[in-house]
């Protein structure tokens, strides 16, 4: 009897009943402790170890919290990106959507809406302004999903278009100038502390918890994996593929808005060119975290690890005084390496 169960050939070994206990156990063990899931953690650990030896500034509380605060924005965006990539899609518009939502929140908070013809002025509370920002993000995400499912536009193209549109809208809304001076209460979101932990970190914890719950515990989460794994089988199983995709893009849009509000609050200013190339950092986090760009395989926590690796790497390269030009080269090579390792793992599976 063959010791390892192979696809198809398994029929023979299992022909007279259940396969031997040894086979079953070893497989179950492999499933429970895949090395692949830990390799990014190991990489992160080694990275931190190296940095704490090379720089005495790395392993300090102020630096680490600073890193976490910076990473929070990428984590929020990347969680949404992960959901999309799991369905075998992609979202290039997150950076622009982030900028637009941040700008809208800032603008409403600072200036409100004035309608001179009606002699009307609408002021916004903090809650109102952030809510409108979040709704805007969701709506743009939903629009992405609608264009992709209704007209079969490839996600790459639909969200590329949205990247340009949302950036244009940001410029229109801000007139090309930053909106600054938004008040201390608003700054609390990006710079405050709560229970000895920075507020942005709390926000990203909540976002991650929500997404983990969604992917692991709910029907829609299962559908996301199923659609990415085999869209046609999912459709035949009665899953409303379009509906699930629209929901996923909407969530990603909302999370981009959350990121936008965090960025705006931290800088106390909405920059019209905020979030440029954030989509690339976010895709990098997703990929380094082991999520397959062809869909169906990956996890939220993997992406969190990916985002932390990128953040720590950025921070470390700055601390080590590496020139910004070299930083980009290193980051790019790390992404490539991560994908190569991931491919090798997938082959071994």
């Amino acid at each position: 009897m063959p010791q390892n169960i192979q696809p198809i050939a398994g029929e023979k070994s299992a022909a007279d009943g259940r396969p031997s206990g040894a086979d079953g156990r070893s497989l179950a063990l492999q499933n429970r402790f895949p090395i692949a899931r830990f390799q990014s953690l190991i990489a992160l650990f080694l990275l931190c170890l190296a940095l704490s030896i090379l720089s005495d500034k790395f392993l300090t509380f102020s630096n680490l919290w600073n890193v976490m605060r910076q990473i929070s924005v990428n984590i929020c965006i990347s969680v949404g990106m992960t959901l999309i990539v799991l369905t075998a899609g992609i979202d290039l518009s997150v950076g622009s959507v982030l900028a637009l939502c941040g700008a809208i929140t800032a603008g409403l908070l600072k200036n409100g809406i004035e309608i001179p013809s009606l002699n009307l002025f609408i002021g916004f509370t903090l809650l109102g302004a952030t809510l409108v920002g979040a709704v805007t993000g969701s709506a743009l995400g939903a629009f992405n999903g609608w264009a992709i499912t209704r007209f079969s536009v490839p996600p790459f193209v639909a969200t590329l278009a949205m990247l340009t549109v949302a950036r244009g809208l940001t410029m229109l809304w801000t007139g090309g100038f930053p909106i600054s001076g938004l008040g201390e209460t608003f700054q609390f979101i990006g710079t405050g502390w709560f229970l000895a932990i920075p507020v942005p970190v709390w926000i990203s914890i909540v976002v991650v918890a929500f997404a983990v719950f969604l992917t692991e515990k709910t029907r829609i989460g299962r559908y996301i994996y199923a659609i990415g794994g085999n869209e046609s089988a999912s459709r035949l199983s009665g899953i409303h593929v379009s509906r699930v995709k629209i929901i996923v893009y909407t969530i990603a849009g909302a999370l981009a808005a959350v990121g936008g509000i965090m960025v705006t609050s931290r800088l106390d200013s909405a920059q019209p060119n905020a979030g440029i190339s954030y989509e690339l950092d976010s895709i990098a986090a997703v990929v380094i975290g082991g999520t397959s760009l062809s869909g169906g395989r990956g996890s939220i926590l993997g992406t969190v690890q990916g985002a932390i690796i990128i953040g720590v790497l950025n921070n470390g390269l700055v601390l080590l005084n590496v020139s910004p030009f070299w930083q980009q080269v290193v980051k790019g090579l790390v992404i490539l390496l991560a994908v190569i390792i991931d491919k090798a793992n997938a082959k071994n599976e």
Partner: protein, 521 residues
């Protein structure tokens, strides 16, 4: 006539796949200047044989002698360079390249400066097209040509590489009458140039027109070969099927039963070309009845199931009723709600999410029942999986095993399980035992019969006649998008069904045959 030298000889070839012997000690010889018809039912081993001859499978037992020398092609390119070319049923042209570019793909002529020698390639292409009497510009893009013309471009490709043996797989399956005539003229020319042609087709009348020799394959064995002259369609058909129903004993006939599914005047428009894929298809299935649907490749069987299941809402017209209630089958979810289940033909492509585990695949159709307060309950999913793993005897190391790691038979059982979980009234089974071994087959047959005894209606599509005969209470035969015959279990014979599938019409009452001709397209 030119000399009848043997060009290629196949000596005792055996080809095994895990769990299946696709070719079993097959021998045959192919003569230059002759058309050899390769005949056999679906699954008889024709495509495996073609793949060996054209170098796709370099790994087999036995020998091939080519021009008197033993050869073993290392790959399709090797076979091509030595003069053996295959023209596949699905054409392998690149649609947005021109005819010239397609013909010279991978063997472009270059000038002395290393750039492409376009004028010389164009001239050469023109010469070949003239020889084949194809009057189109060599610079036109291939996707603009008709299917028949594209086929000629494939032949041109073969001629460019000085092919001596051309294998044609179902060359007339997609082309119209006049294009067939053009093709036959070309074949006659090729014969005159002493090329050997292996012609694979289900259409027996064509074979009688152009073939000189025949080889019959059955169950992976070469049954008989000889000259076409003196053969009749009936003799050929009986050689193709000639076997006892060994798979299982026929069930006792079930009596008349109340209708469960009624399909009335179902039409499906073709997306690719003008005309219909399905023409006014009407039939009933009773509660507890197993209806077999037989047809040759391209008869529209899969499309019929898909249309009933709501996969082509924009192109379908007609009525589908379940229990006398009209079903609005415009999406799979509606069809499922109405009590339908579809086990698709290609379980890897359409049946399973291979990357998900056994448990998650089984629960995929019924996830809304797996919830507690809006979150998925692992224990409910486990219960469901355990139930079906036990009931269908799915062999898997654990229910958390990924579906891709199971054998074909067990994968198919997972697909069946996920549909049984929806408690369907009617199951549409498309080739339910394709590619799985004989034990798993028998188990699936037993399951199907048990389900029918429990009152489910079942429509089984199969290209395997023994399977159809063993399972069905009633048999429908499809040809070119129409129901072309209906047989009760008692009057059904392999010959009769195959004749109806090939195009002769059969009336259920009198059991009489009418002529093959006059098929309306």
């Amino acid at each position: 006539m030119t000399d009848t030298a043997t060009l290629l000889e196949v000596k005792q070839i055996t080809k095994r796949f895990p769990g299946v012997i696709a070719l079993d000690d097959v021998s045959l010889s192919i003569e230059a200047g002759k058309v050899t018809a390769l005949i056999g039912e679906n699954g008889a081993g024709k495509s495996t044989l073609m793949k060996i001859l054209s170098g796709v499978y370099p790994d087999f037992e036995g020998e091939i002698h080519y021009k008197g020398e033993p050869v073993r092609f290392t790959g399709p390119k090797d076979a091509q360079q030595q003069g053996v070319v295959i023209i596949h049923q699905e054409l392998n042209l690149i649609p947005y390249l021109t005819i010239t570019e397609n013909i010279f793909l991978g063997r472009e002529l270059v000038t002395q400066y290393g750039t492409m020698d376009k004028s010389r390639m164009r001239k050469k292409t023109q010469e070949i097209l003239d020889r084949l009497k194809l009057k189109v510009n060599p610079e036109s893009q291939v996707f603009k040509l008709k299917v028949g013309q594209q086929q000629i471009v494939e032949i041109a490709k073969a001629l460019l590489s000085d092919a001596e043996l051309i294998i044609m797989d179902e060359p007339t399956s997609a082309i119209t009458g006049s294009e067939v005539e053009v093709l036959f003229d070309i074949i006659a020319d090729l014969k005159a140039q002493n090329k050997a042609i292996v012609y694979v087709s289900h259409k027996l009348d064509e074979l009688f027109r152009i073939a000189d020799n025949y080889v019959v394959l059955r169950d992976g064995k070469s049954i008989e070969s000889g000259e076409m002259a003196g053969m009749t369609q009936d003799k050929l058909i009986s050689k193709m099927v000639g076997r006892k129903i060994e798979v299982m004993r026929k069930m006792a006939d079930r009596g008349a039963c109340e209708p469960l599914l009624e399909v009335k005047n179902l039409n499906l428009k073709s997306r690719a070309k003008a005309g219909n894929v399905l023409h006014d298809v009407s039939f009933n299935i009773g509660r507890g009845e197993i209806v077999g649907l037989f047809g040759l490749m391209g008869a529209g069987r899969t499309e019929l199931l898909e249309s009933i299941f709501g996969l082509h809402p924009a192109h379908t017209s007609g009525q589908v009723l379940i229990d006398g209630q009209q079903v609005c089958c415009d999406s799979p979810s509606r069809a499922i709600a109405a009590g339908l289940a579809l086990v698709p033909e290609d379980r890897k492509k359409d049946g399973l999410v291979l990357g998900l585990d056994v448990k998650n695949n089984i629960s995929l159709t019924t996830l809304e029942q797996m919830e507690n307060l809006g979150t998925l309950s692992d224990s409910k999913e486990c219960d469901l999986a355990d139930h079906y793993i036990g009931e269908l005897r799915i062999k898997t190391p654990s229910k958390s095993q990924k579906a891709q790691n199971l054998s074909g038979g067990n994968q198919q059982k997972i697909v069946l399980a996920k549909w049984l979980a929806t408690r369907p009234k009617l199951m549409l089974l498309d080739e339910p035992t394709r590619g799985i071994d004989i034990n798993a087959k028998t188990e699936i047959y037993k399951l199907i019969i048990r389900l029918a005894n429990d009152g489910l209606g079942i429509l089984v599509v199969s290209s395997e006649l023994p399977e159809i005969l063993a399972l069905s209470d009633r048999i429908l035969v499809m040809t070119e998008g129409r129901i072309n015959g209906e047989f009760s279990a008692s009057e059904a014979t392999e010959d009769g069904i195959l004749k109806a599938a090939i195009g002769a019409t059969h009336t259920a009452v009198g059991g009489q045959w009418s002529a093959v001709g006059g098929q309306t397209p």
